[in-house]
Subunit: 325 residues, 2 copies
């Protein structure tokens, strides 16, 4: 296989999805102000971003609505309060977790919704349930996407089996997700090639969602893109759970398509992200995340370590090795 | 060309150079306490690091010794105060800038020195002077190294001409240096292959020194290593000018050679690096560095921007584009 395109040209097929409200919402329980969401929407329009993900379609039976901001649930009217009828080229997406979404009641006909794409997040052992959700949403008229999480823990056989099942489904986009931020670029290259093989066979777009545990979120994203992944997740300032994601400002600084503009992102950082950090909202690379990433473990223990301001990193590392945290 | 080795094996030829005192010294004018340097030396021994760079051999005629800590000058007795006779496998290096070192008086016979390697830092237009320094140091009995800075601004023809001249010299190691943190992994791969071609022809080791302006210092370092670069620079916590360097904890977390141990580095971060940050010493990825890196410019304007706590990033970006800062 060859890399696609060159560093000085640009590929028309590459699109960018802003996941700031969604993955960032995992940091602050989705407690973003209306002004924040509106300014982010305007930023995405001005920056030429292709998709803006507003949050989750979480089940109100499973989650207490008083404990989360509204973008955990993404009611139609809450999105419309920001985007109106969204008569723009920017598409709106929401994420729906397998088993934590009342999709048969909460996801309405696409023609009545301002949402363009539903992204189903699934573990490998839930793929059949994910396919059912995809079929439901596709029948309602949405673009659909499946984010297969935690593939760094999976055997190749499981991944190729999942890709075959998803290939046969009506899903439009299949995402490589480095949930634990544990994969190195060489591994991303190999995964991308195997996803692309299925993508070419079944006419699916391949996407990339990276985490920054080892300061590789941006590097892995452009590695995947260089081989042919074409829907790329980013968040402003890399805001996201734990070590965070690929930073929008890095990604738009890299992509050569003249439709992308970095300056609205810079202005948004000054006006909205720095105040968020000043309020004590914390994310981004830190030693505990490196350690769980390197060990290919879920970041929960690291998130606890950072929250408790535990800086005895050597002891934390030993506890991880002993599986005691 | 093929990548060398695999992600699960390790290459005996790969060695790690700790540049914390040297590149980190650019952040705090080399004002490290004796306890810091001693603990760092012990850390490097315990972690299996191969080289420790103590700082610069700067000219005392050109620089006021009262304005810098001692590792700007690296007097023999100041290194010996930390390492004694250094009867260990860890080698000691110092950097000497072309035109800013009184090497003919300050660099003594290697047999009388505790220093093992002299690294000459040069711009492309100073290569003949660098070669003269290399010849001098090699004749004195040192390992020698040349760091060719700012190659992201150079034409390929200049680089290959420099590699030929250095190839003919007695230098042992030639470094790829991404001074502005502007290069992407695909570019690092190409540069590494061209350096390796000269390296194989002339029997030189190829090294990699990265900067983190675009959060690619670690990614670019392992990219270069994957193709065959084998002397890799890192600093604890990535401490270094502006956006800093490849973090030692990331690099040792990646390398599979069992001689490397990450835990002494974690302990050193807790005991020495966090207090340094608490004292207000600032380095690491920040938006202004991304912007100079992306534009392939020297980070000086970004360093000023960060020091002045100027967070109007969009205005800073426009000024960079207008070359007004």
């Amino acid at each position: 296989m060859q890399r696609k395109g060159s560093l000085l040209s640009f590929r028309e097929d590459i699109q960018v999805l802003d996941a700031t409200l969604r993955d960032g919402g995992l940091v602050n329980d989705f407690r973003f102000g209306d002004d924040f969401a509106k300014a982010l929407y305007q930023m995405n329009l001005a920056a030429g971003v292709d998709y803006m993900e507003f949050g989750y379609k979480a089940s109100k039976k499973s989650f207490d609505t008083s404990k989360f901001g509204k973008y955990k649930f993404c009611d139609e009217e809450d999105i419309r309060a920001v985007v109106g009828d969204n008569d723009t080229p920017l598409k709106i997406s929401v994420m729906a977790d397998v088993g934590r979404t009342d999709y048969e009641t909460d996801i309405i006909e696409a023609k009545d919704s301002v949402i363009d794409m539903v992204r189903v997040a699934t573990y490998l052992n839930e793929i059949p349930a994910a396919v059912r959700m995809v079929e439901y949403c596709a029948a309602k008229g949405y673009e659909t996407c499946v984010n297969v999480m935690a593939v760094s823990k999976a055997r190749e056989e499981e991944i190729s089996s999942a890709l075959e099942i998803l290939g046969e489904s009506p899903v439009n986009v299949i995402y490589i997700v480095d949930s634990y931020g544990s994969l190195y670029p060489e591994q991303i290259a190999k995964l991308t090639l195997s996803y692309l093989e299925a993508g070419e066979k079944y006419k699916k777009i391949i996407g990339m969602h990276a985490h920054n545990n080892q300061q590789l979120a941006f590097g892995n994203t452009i590695e995947a893109a260089s081989w042919g992944a074409s829907l790329l997740d980013a968040t402003v300032n890399g805001m996201g759970r734990g070590a965070g994601n690929c930073a929008m400002e890095l990604l738009l600084g890299f992509l050569k398509n003249p439709k992308y503009r970095i300056e609205p992102v810079l202005q948004f950082i000054t006006d909205y992200m720095l105040p968020l950090k000043d309020q004590g909202v914390v994310w981004g690379y830190d030693i505990p995340y490196l350690l769980t990433g390197r060990l290919n473990e879920h970041p929960n223990a690291a998130i606890r370590c950072v929250r408790e301001k535990n800086t005895d990193y050597a002891a934390f590392h030993r506890a991880l090795l002993d599986k005691e945290c």
